[in-house]
Amino acid sequence: MSVPQYRKVAALALVAGLGFSLTACSTKSDDGGDTAGGKVTISVDCQPVAAQKELLANWNADVAEFQKQNPDITIKSVSVGEQCNNPPDFTARLAGGTMTDVFYGYMTDLQQVLDSGKAMDITEYANKDTIPTWDSVDPALKEVFTDGGKLYAVPVKNYSMGLVYNKTLFTKAGLDVNNPPKTWPEVRAAAKKIAALGNGIAGYSEYSAGNTGGWHFTSLIYSQGGRVLSEDGKKAAFNDAAGKQVLQNLKDMRYGDNSMGSRQLLQWADLLTNAGAGKVGMFIGAPDSTQAIVSQFQGKYEDWAMAPLPGQTGPAKGTLGGGEGYFFKAGLSPDQVKAGLKWIAYQKLTVGKGQLDYARAKPQNYPVGLPQPLLFTNGSEAQKQELELRTKNANVDTANFKIFEENPVPIQGEPRNAQAIYAVLDSAMSGVLTNPNANIDALLKTAEEKVNQLLAAGS
């Protein structure tokens, strides 16, 4: 073969190869996801990552057991990271349509999922046949995932925020672990004492980046009796006395007392890493934040206790409640939806199985006995069974959460377009936490302007 001919062949081979590889890209590699010969395959995300050894082993055992019980269903597990819904990744998957058949999302994601047009209405499928405990699932949780009378996701976890505090640091600072702060001025005083321990310890720590600042601002303004959006959800409502008080409290602690540590612009893992290292006296969070501190950030359960969210002059007027659920990708066959619901029922909503298998979790480095989630309606049979099993197998000292449990604060949901609003409010939070001369009025005004603008654009 002459050189030019050889080159021609090489060029053709190159193009053919490229063609093949492009075809390979465009071909749906996922051969499952459909129904064949009575067998159904569904892909499900939020499988724990390899670093979460015990959780991953539990998940895999659950899949094996579920498939044994339902030989016609095959579950394809997909892991999407330790934090199953990192907003940018979630958006990318949603925009690209690369989510799994049954995909994990926050309660705040409903709007975005609906806008993408890629979620399925599962109202007619979610019932006692697919989820035996369905009638016991708290209607308020179902409501969060409902739009225009149609259900789009199954709730699998919920939480509300309180004041999480480090008992060891409390003791060291001479504070009473059984009498945690009830008001923000008391939090400030306690934070000052804890920060006085030195060694880089923050008395109180707070988020201000990666949307988490806005998320916590929301809970803080609820505690003041304020709100993020107007009643009709069309205007920002945080630029008021309550919003100003939230930022003023933080500014006073950060620059008045220097009790919040020097490192700011913290996002989710940053604060919990510091907490795990024993460098945080108090922060606001849900009971399961202690789980993250222990299982992911090397902390110890015995260090942590929880109180209700403080208010400005008395108990908090409200606290933020949120949670997670599983959505269904548009275009699934009825059999696939049913299979997905059955799997969620088994792994998330059956007492003694999956996430509610407390006997299995007890010896593991995974907390049993936390006061949440509370998925089932008060007084329902499922709730009775769950609480009984939880108490019997508790491996954390439930006394640490007693004050939180016994003093419930009214729970308020997250605002519409929550993630977008949180991104804006991050800026107000970072303002007071990094600038000693921050102008609170100006910060709130700018944030208000931005939120109003994005609400107008979204409507």
Binding site: P4, Q5, R7, K8, A11, L12, L14, V15, L18, L22, P87, P88, T91, A92, A95, Q111, Q112, L114, D115, S116, G117, K118, G200, A209, G210, N211, S262, R263, Q264, L265, L266, Q267, D270, A330, N417, Q419, A420, A423, D426, S427, S430, G431, T434, N435, A438, L443, T446, E449, K450, Q453, L454, A457, G458
Partner: protein, 312 residues
């Protein structure tokens, strides 16, 4: 691009129509070249041009409830009305200007310095190039947690304290955010520029320096009168490339400032695109901003193309 031409086979007969024949012959002659080109064209079409066109289309649409509608200039108006829009441009230009002063001058003088060394040249070049080999994310995390720690435990603050100088909050200080990002970015990227300058410097005929020396020119005069004029095209080209690259500032704010930084002090245009697209459920607004950025960068790129044509 050089086109590989296949030799015409012996005994080739002239075609009936001279014009059509020329075309078909030309096509046949260049077949190999065109075949090779298909791969590149396909790659560009699929991964560059298609997304660009799609972005342009998206910037005039809005998707709500799975339904896409044409909205004219709405997304552009909304994006320009975003209070962060002008801040992001101001930050981006500020970063670009700072990066030009620091990230442009420093590698040039490092190259001149390296060029002067007689010994350990290779070793020093590797040393300068080393940070380029470090993944940008790792390098930035080093800066974030090690150098820019706002407490006194941070590397830079420890040095400042040792020198009895006031410390800084680095990425948490709105005034230091940009200089700190430029510093990290220059450290990360200057290796490549140094190597390019070195190559250019080595192309300058030694006689010019000898002549200058005979005329009594000192080091500065030699740099000013010989080095800079001899390398000015490379300097101009790299400056343009650098402007286009630095204006796409993204990973530095994302990692060093956890995004927007203190009150938008780190928000760049590229980061604002990301924020709209991935945090605010506004991919259409993000596309509009992307188009605005494209137009601005195209202007700089046009200058680059002119310069590079001049060099040819």
């Amino acid at each position: 691009m050089a086109v590989i031409t296949a030799p015409a086979p012996a005994g080739h007969k002239a075609p009936a129509s001279p014009a059509g024949g020329r075309r078909s012959r030309k096509l046949r002659d260049n077949l190999t070249g065109h075949t090779f080109l298909i791969g590149a064209v396909l790659c560009f079409a699929l991964f560059m041009w298609y997304p660009m066109i799609r972005g342009l289309v998206m910037s005039f649409q809005r998707t709500r409830r799975g339904e896409t509608t044409w909205v004219g200039w709405d997304n552009y108006i909304r994006i320009i009305d975003d209070p962060s829009f002008w801040i992001a441009w101001k930050n981006t230009f500020y970063f670009t200007a700072l990066a030009l002063v620091l990230g442009f001058a420093v590698p040039f003088f490092v190259a001149i310095l390296l060029n002067e060394f007689r010994h350990a040249k290779g070793y020093l070049r590797i040393l300068v190039y080393l940070p380029v080999m470090l993944p940008p994310a790792s390098a930035l995390f080093l800066f974030k947690f090690y150098a820019y720690d706002p407490s006194e435990a941070g590397l830079f603050n420890a040095i400042l304290t040792a020198l009895n100088l006031p410390t800084s909050e680095w990425m948490q200080s709105p005034t230091m955010t940009m200089p700190a990002m430029v510093l990290a970015s220059t450290w990360m990227n200057m290796g490549s520029a140094v190597l390019i300058y070195l190559a250019a410097l080595q192309n300058i005929p030694g006689e010019l320096y000898e002549a200058a020396e005979l005329d009594g020119a000192g080091i500065w005069k030699r740099i000013w009168n010989v080095t800079i004029p001899q390398t000015r095209l490379i300097l101009a080209l790299l400056a343009m490339l650098q402007i286009v690259a630095t204006m796409q500032l993204f990973i530095e704010p994302l990692i060093l400032a956890n995004g927007a930084g203190t009150q938008d002090s780190a928000t760049s245009v590229a980061y604002l695109i990301y924020q709209h697209g991935f945090f605010q459920n506004d991919l259409n607004g993000a596309a509009a901003l992307g188009m605005i950025m494209l137009v601005v960068l195209a202007a700089f790129s046009a200058v680059y193309v002119r310069l590079s044509t001049k060099e040819d």
